[in-house]
Amino acid sequence: MSRTLTLNIFRFNPQDPDSKPHTEAFTLDETESMTLFIALNRIRAEQDPSLQFDFCCRAGICGACAMVINGRPGLACRTKTRDLPAEITLLPLPAFKLVADLSVDTGTWFRQMYQKVESWIHTDKVFDPHAQEERMDNHLAEEIYELDRCIECGCCVAACGTAIMREDFLGAVALNRIARFMLDPRDERTVEEYFDVVGTDEGIFGCMGLLGCEDVCPKQIPLQEQLGKMRRKMAVAAINDRLPKFLRSPK
């Protein structure tokens, strides 16, 4: 038995002087195994070719299609309509600059994040093309990959109370990035250097602990756990020199 779906979609094209922000309702017949990827593309091909939204891999891998689906940030490509009521409301992700309709500019946000946290391996070593690779324990490699699985979809930022209120908050995605590098022995930054980046209200101390980030992460990355670990490490680092020797943590 097929349903008729009503999709209430946020519409606004800032490049069109006649366009005003509003919600537009589209109806279409639900088909078997329908996802929002299929539904939105059908609306574009059959009803309104100007409708803007972002899809790329359509396989839940690239993070392009995050939007607010019935009040919750998520990946549209892998959201099945059968898991939703017949009335579906789609809004663009908050916290990112709107391009038009459901399309937002995540690229600019993330590139400035890379610069803020210096999202790369810091090392004084020089690559030697003739040498064997440096060894790493496989279990550690798997732990790093666990945090590297972030797809920068922006859901955690959109679901974050602090990030919505203050533009300078780094967000769970950036804190997770730092946690990833702290775990990686190839990065030679010290705890103090990491502290300079995230040890403020813009970083780990800005989080209000609402847990929205982890709730909506489509990759189920343990974001709160990373935050907790970093807070502990930083707290220890701050008092490390005053502790008796046997209690001090190594650099």
């Binding site: 094209n13 803007q52 396989a59 093309p129």
Partner: protein
């Protein structure tokens, strides 16, 4: 007209584009990467299985060397590869993998001691050496003599792209995302950059560059059913073809991957079979060993896809609302292995099929996956026909893959070619200034501005771009699928000629303002149909079967007449068909044409066998 100027302009910010960008930025040149999407969403990120490089650290990779990798690659290509390029690739691949480790890729590593692995659904043990502990591990992939595929779980492309984009950010490579190249700026002799539409505002810009690189990936989205991301629709190939002087190499060489899921056509990695997964039919019978006793599920992709199709044609496929399919079985690999090394596969199965691969079978069938076809370059990555234009990665026909590429060789190619071609681009930038002719820039910009106006005003008609695309999809799969024949190809070419005429009459239904998606499609639909005509016409003319190009009416591999590469030019804008020329597949033969060792089929030999030998380094 907004103008940007840079030393190097990379069209594409996936692995190949960014690797070249990093090389140039490291040498002190300014670089801008253009990308349809933020760099990390590039289709490279969807590559799961891994990258081939003959490191030989793992127990099952012992005794591996670039020479063995070379032989696998050339056999895999069905001798269509340029052997000099294949040699450059295999020799540099280990360096590139180690460099990626240095840049932060969390490669899976060798765990010493006795390990249980699977082959063809059966467990066996192998002892990983203590002295190799912590070195880069490798898994098995199709068409290889050794376990050679370096991997990070089944998110290799993602992990490598994130590491590389980190380095790009560190080195100050600019990425202008949400931009789309709609034409190259050139005077028939030299490329000077590109005309670009901003996909945030719709504004038209000119990017002027001393060197331009096409690294935009493949054009799988010409097909309706493809594993590719929706952005892989050939935009930059079209810009290259439109110059009239740049050829596409082997446009008919299109790969179908054995395991796209049904429905939705999303890829599940070859790593599933490499790690010991099997293919089953409607009776849950493992059929591949009957066809390929030696390699079974791990023959090359062209062979496995053909055998699967043959088997389904015998009525042994599983019927479904979405057509026939077969089963991929990884249940025996167990929860731990699937949860650590095949986790993306698990997520995809759960999210898109509602299937738990630990306990259930995965519905699969061969699906368009890769273009061996691409912008033809020489071994330095310099594009035929225009100075200052380079290409690398899937976008290019460099040509190490010939008529079939091995799994794990394309992801590897992106960073190896990126490293090698990157160095050549740096040499080029150090060697010469490019003269930018302002009248050429203004003309190119004005021409695109006029095209946009005509599409919005419906000057040439009001054909619907989406419907034209549907017609192209139909014709292309009819002619240029897994099995091809003269009759279907002739019909496809004729149909596509009609589609091309329609594409030339496209006009918008919407207002075209801003980053209007209808305009984006309308701007490239004519070019997409031209690409489809290159594929089908190339396939119609090639009266032999080689690698992924299988002609039912010409089943033999014909080394006597067809050991060559198709070069497809679109000489005059208004032509109905491409102009096809041919060149020798390879100038040197390190490995003379012979049997692949899988796939069967007869070979018509060359009249005079070539001189062989390894070229001097």
């Amino acid at each position: 007209m907004q103008i940007f100027q840079t030393d190097l302009l990379c069209i594409g910010a996936g692995l190949a584009g960014e690797r070249v960008a990093i090389e140039a930025a490291g040498a002190g040149f300014s670089v801008v990467c253009l990308s349809l999407v933020p760099a990390r969403r590039s289709h490279s990120s969807a590559a799961q299985g891994g990258m081939q490089a003959a490191l030989g650290n793992s127990a099952m990779g012992e005794g591996d060397s670039p020479d063995v990798h070379f032989a696998d690659t050339v056999k895999g290509s069905d001798w269509g590869a340029d052997q000099e390029v294949a040699r450059i690739f295999v020799d540099n691949a280990p360096i590139a993998m180690r460099q990626m480790a240095y840049w932060g890729v969390p490669w899976n590593r060798v765990v010493p001691g006795e390990q249980t692995y699977y082959k063809g659904g059966k467990p066996f043990t192998a002892v990983e050496k203590k002295e190799n502990e912590g070195l880069i591990h490798s898994r098995s992939f199709g068409g290889t003599a050794k376990w050679r595929t370096c991997y990070t779980s089944d998110g290799t492309g993602h992990a490598v792209l994130f590491a590389l984009d980190n380095v790009a950010a560190q080195r100050g490579v600019e990425v202008h995302d949400k931009t789309e190249v709609i034409s190259l700026i050139h005077d028939g002799d030299t490329c000077m950059g590109a005309i670009v539409r901003c996909l945030k505002t719709g504004e038209l810009r000119a990017y002027l560059a001393r060197a331009t690189l096409i690294a935009s990936g493949g054009f799988g989205r010409l097909y309706r059913a493809s594993t590719n991301a929706v952005i892989n629709d050939g935009g930059a190939h079209i810009a290259a073809l439109d110059t009239g002087v740049v050829p596409l190499g082997n446009p008919e060489a299109i790969q179908f991957h054995p395991t796209g899921i049904v429905p939705t056509d999303i890829l599940v990695t070859e790593g599933c079979r490499g790690d010991g997964g099997t293919l089953l039919d409607v009776n849950q019978y493992r059929f591949m060993p009957d066809y390929e006793p030696e390699k079974a599920e791990l023959a090359s992709r062209d062979v496995v896809s053909r055998r699967m199709t043959e088997h389904m044609r015998k009525g042994l496929g599983v019927k479904s609302a979405y057509g026939d399919h077969l089963w991929l079985d990884i249940r025996h690999l167990g929860a731990h292995h699937i949860n650590t090394n095949l986790r993306e596969v698990k997520e995809i199965c759960e999210n898109f099929l509602g299937v738990d691969p630990i306990t259930q079978l995965i519905p699969v069938r061969p699906t368009q996956h890769y273009c061996m076809a691409g912008v033809r370059t020489n071994k330095d990555g310099a594009v035929y026909g225009l100075k200052g234009l380079f290409s690398a990665g899937e976008a290019a026909c460099w040509d190490m893959h010939g008529f079939n590429r091995l799994g794990g060789n394309s992801l590897s190619e992106t960073v190896v070619a990126g490293m090698y071609v990157g160095a050549k681009v740096v040499e080029f930038l150090k060697g010469a200034e490019t003269v930018i002719k302002t009248n050429i820039v203004a003309d190119a910009h004005a021409r695109q501005q006029q095209r946009i106006k005509d599409l919005i005003n419906g000057t040439h008609g009001r054909e619907n771009a989406f419907s034209v695309r549907e017609e192209m999809h139909d014709a292309l799969i009819k002619g240029a699928g897994i099995f091809r024949n003269g009759k279907d190809l002739t019909e496809a070419v004729e149909a596509l000629k009609g589609t091309l005429a329609r594409a030339r009459r496209v006009g918008l239904a919407s207002n075209g303002l801003g980053a209007n998606p209808e305009l984006a499609l309308a701007l490239k639909i004519e070019g997409m149909v031209k690409l489809a005509l290159c594929v089908t016409q190339g396939a119609l003319m090639r009266t032999e079967s080689r690698g992924a190009h299988t002609r039912e009416d010409y089943p033999d591999r014909n080394d006597r007449d067809w050991l060559n590469r198709t070069l497809a030019y679109w000489t005059n804008e208004k032509d109905e068909l491409p102009t096809l020329k041919y060149e020798a597949a390879t100038q040197t033969f390190e490995l003379p044409p012979g049997e692949r060792g899988y796939g069967g089929g007869k070979i018509i030999p060359m009249e005079t066998p070539p001189k062989t030998g390894k070229p001097k380094a």
